[in-house]
Each structure stands twice: as C-alpha cells, then as structure tokens.
C-alpha cells in the first residue's frame, strides 16, 4: 500500500513539474516584461557563485590530470594528458560539476524561496490578485538558470583544463606547450553537422538542459510546499535530490544521443 502511495505521489509530482515546465515555455513571450527580474536572478545564480565554480573546477581538472597522468606514465604516454583532461572536462566534468553546484546552491534556494512564499500565503495572494505565479515568479528564475548554467560550465572548463596543466607540468613534468597542443587537438575536432567543435557545444548544450531542469524542479517543489517551515525544508531537500538524480539520467540520455 505504501509503495502504491509513493508511486502515486511521484506520478503527481512529475506531472505537476511537467506542467510547470510547459507553462513556463508558454510564458516565454512575456520574458521582456520580466527582464529586470531575470537579470537579477541570473546575476545571483552566476556571478555570486563564480568563486565556487573556479575552486571546484580547478580541483576537478587537477585530480583528472593527476589520476590519468599517473596511469599514463606507466606506459610513457603522459604527453597526451592534455587531450584526456580537456575531453573529460568539456564533455562531462565541467557541465556536471556546475549542475551539482547549482542544484545545491540555487535549486535549493529557489525551492525554499518559493516554498516560503507558498506557506506564508504570498502565492495565494498573487492568485487572488489574478497574477499567475508562473510568468511572475517561475519564468525569470528558469530563464536565468538556463543561461547561467552553460556560462558557469565554460568557466569550470577553462579553469579545469588550466588546473590540469599546472599539475601536469609541476608533478608529471609534462611540457606545457605539448599539453596545450593536445588540448587544442581534442577541442578543435569539428562536428558532423556544424563547423564548430563538437565537444564544446555538446557539453554546453548539456549544461543548458541541466540549468533548465534544476530551475523547473526547484520552482515546482517550492510551489507545492505545504506544512510551514518543515514543508519548506522538505521542498528544498527533495528539490536538490531530484534534480541531481535527473541531471545524471539526462546526462546519460544526452551522451547516448549525441555521441553514438
């Protein structure tokens, strides 16, 4: 019985979230009216998080470089560290760590913010005034995060590759010029469809999807919050959990579609 109820709640939650996503898309023509709020949200989601992204991105690149470098050194192949670090960062690590940081720092905040508004009757007040919360609250936040996520992923990619080069040079004695060349080699590989490096746009496309998912999930959990402060905490927790799970699932699907 319990399992049945959980399944029903999951189904209800999913259909509510899909509804929010659809209504957000339909509200897109109103974006110009919400430009101020969207810019503010974008600033809060990107500029205020950049130091975290730089720190985490750099260490991700350094760890990648060290681990693969040590393994490659056994075969005398450490010269190709650059290509591995660059491909891993740009395809996977950059977008993914950005998504995890955004889910934890911004997705939770969105759920808590809208959840607090819900439990203190602010959302109902908007509805009574005939102000639709989706264009008013959800649209600016979703657009902001959909823009911020790929921008932050670029930062994570750049510092990650640079961090990798520092480790390669200082600990593994790899010539920085050779590292840079292998990085360019990998990244310059164009796609079949566009005359544009595939790894870069595929990674950034992933990041854009992650940003959208995290914002929609955060907002929809916030709007469904009930039961006072406890409910707000619950909304924030489940929003982070569900968005990280969904980012992983989506990551696999997108990789499968774009790389095979």
């Amino acid at each position: 019985m319990n399992l049945l109820r959980t399944a029903r709640e999951m189904l209800e939650g999913t259909s509510y979230t899909l509804g929010i996503a659809g209504r957000t898309a339909l509200a897109l023509p109103q974006l110009w009216r919400r430009r101020r709020e969207t810019t503010e949200q974008c600033y809060a989601a990107s500029v205020k998080l950049i130091h975290v992204i730089v720190l985490v991105g750099a260490f991700a690149g350094m760890i990648l470089s060290l681990q693969t470098g040590l393994a490659l050194a056994d075969f005398g192949q450490e010269g190709s560290i650059g290509s591995i670090v660059a491909a891993a960062m740009v395809r996977e690590m950059g977008p993914f760590i950005t998504a995890v940081i955004l889910a934890a720092a911004v997705g939770s905040a969105l759920a808590a913010e809208l959840g607090t508004m819900k439990v203190s009757d602010e959302i109902t007040a908007l509805e009574v005034m005939s102000i639709d919360p989706v264009p008013f609250l959800v649209l600016p936040r979703v657009v902001a995060l959909t823009i911020a996520c790929p921008l932050l992923a670029i930062v994570a990619n750049v510092v990650g590759i640079y961090g990798g080069s520092i480790v390669a040079e200082s600990l593994l004695r790899v010539d920085p010029l050779a590292y840079r060349e292998t990085v360019y080699d990998v990244l310059a590989r164009p796609a079949e469809l566009f005359p544009f490096p595939k790894d870069i746009y595929a990674g950034l496309f992933k990041a854009t999807v992650y940003g959208f998912l995290i914002a929609v999930i955060g907002c929809s959990h916030g709007l469904r919050a009930s039961n006072g402060a406890l409910g707000v905490g619950e909304a924030a927790r489940t929003a982070v959990r569900n968005s990280i799970i969904l980012v992983l699932v989506m990551n696999f699907i997108l990789t499968r579609v774009m790389y095979t």
């Binding site: 607090t116 203190s120 009757d121 602010e122 109902t124 007040a125 009574v128 005034m129 005939s130 102000i131």
Partner: protein, 272 residues
C-alpha cells in the same frame, strides 16, 4: 455578461453551501447574504468554516452543493478570464499580510496596477502614493516587508487590497497577532476605509473589538452553519449564550463603535 441585472442584489450570497475538505464536512448548508455597501463580520470557533467561506468568495474553492454568488456570479463556475475580472473587483487582506517579501512596500502596493491592470507608470505612482497615504504609510514606501512591524505590514496589505478600488473587501483576522492598541487602530482604519470607498466588507475575526468596530452585521458560525445573525447592536445586547460566548459581551464593548470615526491618527503611531 448578465451582471447588470444580477449586480443589483447582494454583493455576496451563500445559498445552502456544502463543502467537504480532506474527508471532513466543513460547511453544512451555509446561507447568508451581504448587501452592497455593508460590512458583515463572521465569528465562530476555529474550524467552523470561516476562512473556507472567504476562499469560496474568491473562487479558490468551489462548493460541493449549493451556490455562492458574488455580484450575481458564481466564482466556481467561471472561466479563467471571467474569474480574473471578478477578482479584480475584490480585495483580500490576508492574516499575515502576504506581502511579497522581496519587494518594497511601494512595489507591493503597485502589483495589482502593474501586473493586472497594466497601467502606465505615470498612473501607477499617484495611485500607490494615495493608497499608502490612506493607511498612513506614505513615508515607509521604500521599506521592505521584513523591516516593518506586524501592524505596518497589515496596513501595507490593506493598501494593496484597496489600490485597485475594489467593490468588495475581504479580511482574514485583520487584528490577529497584534497588541490591543495596534489592533484597535487597524480596526478603525478598516472601518474608515470601508466608508470612504463605499465598499462591501466581509470580515473573519475572533476579536470582539474588531467585530463591533467594523461590522454592520455579525454572523456566528457553528459547525458550518449560521448559528445566529444580527446587527452589531442586536448582537452586542443579545441574550443568546452562543453569541455571548463568541462576542465575550460586557458593557464596554459598544463604546468602541462610538469613537471609531477619525481616531486613527491618534493611535496610528503605535502600529509602527
């Protein structure tokens, strides 16, 4: 729209309304009527269906049986745009104000004008200033909701409720959680605003002082029905034990009505 003909009647009319929520019967054949331009106070124990009644009036809830008529129309039966146009004639004051916490008071009050009526800024500003002036908050326009007291938040919420010049104002426990002096000044402010706007009022409250200050008529709810109803004077002198319990009647209660006019300025400062 057929509003012209039906608008002539009561502003709010409940006809044998039944409502069940979460397996519990909340309203059991509730009937009452609020004539235009009058203030109707709803009292009664917690869980007797008072807030649910307000939610029916704004169309957040629809009755299981019976009819709710607001200006002759049934909110639960209207399309989205019809409901929006009906709601534009209604202002609702929430218990905790429900101001948007990341907007200053001026922007909060301007919300219905900017978002619903889409008025140009040059019309929005004077009307917001006038609404804030009415509730004595003109000099707090730039403050955020978190920077002001509970009494000020209620007054700001009242300004937001009246800025679109509604014909019907609903109040959910307007003086709850305030000290008696601040609560009293809110009640007198509500009475004055009601008179100045000529609006119909429906007020849910537990407070005798609020009921006798603001209400023309008072209805006592019990178990989802109207247990007793009468003018404020009748209720204040009623011998019905239920009325006496919820009104907590004693001799001094009626004096609050006599000084209700123009006394806001004196005690207004206590609300800050």
């Amino acid at each position: 729209m057929s509003t012209a003909a039906s608008d002539a009647g009561a502003a709010v009319r409940f006809e044998s309304v039944e409502k069940q929520l979460g397996g519990k019967q909340i309203l059991r054949g509730l009937s009452f009527e609020v004539p235009r331009g009058t203030s109707f106070v709803i009292m009664g124990p917690s869980g007797s269906g008072k807030s649910v009644t307000l939610k029916h009036i704004v169309g957040i809830l629809a009755p299981d049986a019976g009819r709710v008529l607001v200006f002759g129309r049934e909110p639960g039966q209207l399309s989205r745009s019809e409901l929006a146009s009906l709601r534009s004639r209604i202002g609702l004051l929430f218990q905790d104000g429900a101001l948007i916490n990341w907007m200053n008071l001026e922007d909060n009050v301007a919300l219905p004008l900017r978002e619903v009526q889409r008025l140009p800024e040059r019309e929005v500003r004077p009307r917001v200033a006038e609404a804030l002036e009415r509730v004595h908050l003109a000099d707090a326009a730039q403050k955020m909701p978190s920077e002001i007291s509970g009494g000020m938040r209620k007054r700001a919420a009242l300004a937001r409720a009246i800025v679109s010049r509604p014909e019907l104002l609903l109040y959910d426990e307007p003086d709850a959680g305030l000290d008696p002096a601040t609560g009293g000044s809110i009640n007198r402010l509500i009475r004055r605003v009601q008179r100045e706007l000529g609006a119909t009022g429906v007020i849910v409250t537990h407070s005798r002082s609020c009921a006798l200050t603001v209400g023309d008529r008072i209805g006592i709810f019990e178990q989802g029905r109207m247990a007793s109803e009468g003018t404020a004077e009748e209720m204040a002198t009623s011998s019905d034990p239920r009325v006496r319990i919820y009104l907590g009647i004693d001799g001094e209660a009626t004096t609050e009505r006599s000084d209700s006019r123009g006394a806001e300025h004196g005690t207004g400062a206590t609300g800050r």
